[in-house]
Symmetry: C2
Subunit: 596 residues, 2 copies
Amino acid sequence: MSHANRLAAVRCAMAENSINAFIVPHDDEHLGEYIPPYAERLAWISGFTGSAGAAVVLTDKAAVFVDGRYTVQVRQQCDATLFGYHHLISEPYLDWLLTELNAGDKVGFDPHLHSQSWYQNAEEKLAAHHITLVPVSNNLIDEQWHDRPVPDCHAALLLSQDYSGQHSEAKRSRIAQDLAALQVDVQLLTQAEPINWLLNIRGRDISCLPVVLSFALLHQDGSVQLFADPAKFAGLDLQAHSGNNVSLLPVNELATALQALGKQGARVQLDPTTANAWSALVLSEAGAELVYDDDPCMLPKACKNPVEVNGSRTAHLRDGAAVSRFLAWLDRRINQANPELEHEGTLADKLEGFRAANSEFVEPSFSTISALGPNAAMCHYHHLNGTPRTLGQDAIYLVDSGGQYLDGTTDITRTVAVGEPDAEMQKLFTLVMRGHIDLADARFPAGTGGQQLDALARMPLWQQGYNFDHGTGHGVGHYLSVHEGPQRISPKGSIVPLTTGMIVSNEPGYYREDGFGIRCENLQVVQPADLGGDIPVFEFETLTFVPFDRRLIDNHWLEDKHIQWLNQYHAQVWENISPQLEGDDLAWLEQATRPI
Amino acid sequence: MSHANRLAAVRCAMAENSINAFIVPHDDEHLGEYIPPYAERLAWISGFTGSAGAAVVLTDKAAVFVDGRYTVQVRQQCDATLFGYHHLISEPYLDWLLTELNAGDKVGFDPHLHSQSWYQNAEEKLAAHHITLVPVSNNLIDEQWHDRPVPDCHAALLLSQDYSGQHSEAKRSRIAQDLAALQVDVQLLTQAEPINWLLNIRGRDISCLPVVLSFALLHQDGSVQLFADPAKFAGLDLQAHSGNNVSLLPVNELATALQALGKQGARVQLDPTTANAWSALVLSEAGAELVYDDDPCMLPKACKNPVEVNGSRTAHLRDGAAVSRFLAWLDRRINQANPELEHEGTLADKLEGFRAANSEFVEPSFSTISALGPNAAMCHYHHLNGTPRTLGQDAIYLVDSGGQYLDGTTDITRTVAVGEPDAEMQKLFTLVMRGHIDLADARFPAGTGGQQLDALARMPLWQQGYNFDHGTGHGVGHYLSVHEGPQRISPKGSIVPLTTGMIVSNEPGYYREDGFGIRCENLQVVQPADLGGDIPVFEFETLTFVPFDRRLIDNHWLEDKHIQWLNQYHAQVWENISPQLEGDDLAWLEQATRPI
């Protein structure tokens, strides 16, 4: 079916529903960062396959809304005779709807695919112009999408306490106490990561994110109703693993359970920014009292326990050896015949191969960014979206990748010389490295948020009139999502204090348009430091051990303390990684980690 | 009249008004930082003379609420048989009222003395417990306060454009354009500083703050109605100075003017956090449409124009010579006979004397903090609140002071050796100094708030397990308040970006309880820096020129760049201040500014 025919079919369904517009976001009912193939409704209707965006279908026109990363891709993938395109942030689709529609018009949306916060805000905004927002209970796309993939049925994994470090019952009883104190009867959980963390389960429902897609109701007594495909748990004793007070129900019984809570007049808490509007609608229509607050799993999930931290350390040693082998191979490959036979895609595959050689490796933690020369200046470049660039023509190469291991999640970026870097590239690499070191070296008292530390990583660039246009650090899960909150290190936003066990990335960068891109990324875990001053403080323990490229460093831009840090770090890399390497790889590591 | 009799009289008035409680805040109708003597109602009823707090009178008991700085003072000043005392922040008086009162009770307050935001919040909070908040139009204190001071009638000053740098009409037309764009008919201005800035007037109504206390209505056409005591403008041609569209009216005509706006159904904008509840009540009862937003004068007032910046530079050169003379004298005095004849009070007076020798000096910009030894560990210590400590027994002395000059406002803290500082004091002084330097040296792009830079000044202390419990920097006015917003440099709060012309203090410190106190404070102005990088950035230009005490510096705790900064700063101090000194003072400056 062509996109024109798909649009026509959806417009027929819109007419039957008496709506003048229909919104198709890039989201599934869990509103997480990644979605499974059966939820790729935006791609089905428009052809656009990016990881964020939305389409809006009117009776006589349609438009796709994407952010700055996808302005080129959307033109390549969408038929301009069918879809206009707009900037998701500077021209939000609700504003666009206001210019296109008239008072009295109706806008349809699938409440499963929008958060309760979005719904409340959008409804108010449209109502001010006498336009009605209409929940459409059966998604208009799904009705027309005849070859829609069925959800995969990957087996769930019951994650041993050797990895999780804490029994599900202990996690649940702690959160249940907080619910009782707030007089909340039930917590609705709609995102996969907190549920999988809470029950110590994992799955393979989404690429790169090892979760069982599910919903859950956590009751004030600590019991849980888990709504997931029971077939995924075939042959597994979930109750023996997670607790006798965990019951497994098919997802299609969630509505009944929510209605039952409503009839009891229960006080049900949900996070309106992550829970879909459908669940809030069902609950409130049935008579439940809704309480809006942050998901109470997020903070304990972010603060890794000692077992999780230890697992992450071990995973990083393994990962560090794999990435080091790749970099050693790359250095050799450049000097062999026909380096141009290698391109960004083969390099990414080679790196994944080194990781996959580990038996504990499960899958990549995100799609590898493998970018040569000017491609690295695009922060969200992906070599599969165009013709991959080949080795041999550029001075530097940026590779941002990570792995999912049963004992932890990794995320590392290295920028390395693959040609003849010039003084400007060395200067900017060194300034980025210096910012990385200043942040890695920070100590800070309780209550300090990442927002207060972000400038440390930028100051060396700021001093020379440069900056980078992304956050400095994100939270990282434990064999879970490579991006997690609530903590982050960025100029604005979250002021959640950094505290013991939180894993964050430290990844300042620099991007010269049409020129080159630089990013230096390690993961680090927050730990208490014992200094004997007046107050306890925290510091970062670095988890990642892979050499930074000495050939890109210009000592002129460093102070003694930065050089000391680098030499000490490289000594640790040698100590931690050399036992895993042999032969040429070991020789490479020795020269890559010698003092500067 | 004893405080017991005063309480009894107020309780009689409460009975007549059928109220069960009456709130007496430390505020006047302008809700600024400083209040004139006629507004010292809290001191009249309770005896407490601190700069912040509140009393609450019930029919059978009363309580005073003060913050951490005043827990000792309140016990000294208030009769414990009449008043309980509570912590203003951790035991807010509204919470206390909820525990003391019953449903159906009424709480009286004078709406002139509380902000509209306070009123809205307090009304809602009490109403939830069925307690009513009752505006009392004639203040119950004023009725009983028979010897209440009459407001002073100091002559106003028409500030020459040689000082202000911009005509009032230019200021007003720019803001009026913004009001028109927002479809606001009138802006109500209730704080003295923005009004005095807007009309280029100054006064002497409050000690240390050179303003005419007043209210104003700024209309969309740029015209202003100024409500102030006309006697202060006797013999002055306000219209010739500020513009023909400025009319001067007695303060008691404000109510009539607000009612007239209401009858016209005008859209009147006010800042609910600074405008008193009385004005909002009068306006809304008369039919005006209230628009709540920040006071539009605050940001342009904060961004000094080049004439104001130049004036501030000149004022600081003058002030730097006065403070240097004081420090030179102090060094000599310590080595003369009977240093113990000098105490914190005589030192503060001596310093003011050096400033007052300048013909351009108007008055101190705040009450000098002159603190020896352990007294300096109390951030808000004042020598008049106890027995001043004498010279000769302590190792270090902290003096925080400033001056009001027609061309600018100064604020400087120096911590100097007056005995034998030990290695611990030197270490902590050097860490504080290092934080000061790291902040002074910062560069940052447009959009950066002080919150992002605050950690720079703390990191050297944090690294060793120390911190200080106050903000790092506040805005400073131009011959106006020494504390002004909206910008600040602190861990939390304002994220208003720092931009060209903003003057901020840089004042990290360290306080060892019962031991010593350290603070290093300069003022600095934000300026664009031309670096030739990718983006324009800002940097700080230091305004203050007085030596930091070399005897307190331990180079071990500094990097080369800090030593370079100090030596370069001291070279500038020598260059800027030496032409104003002679004899022993000049010799002192020479040794105080030589390289370390």
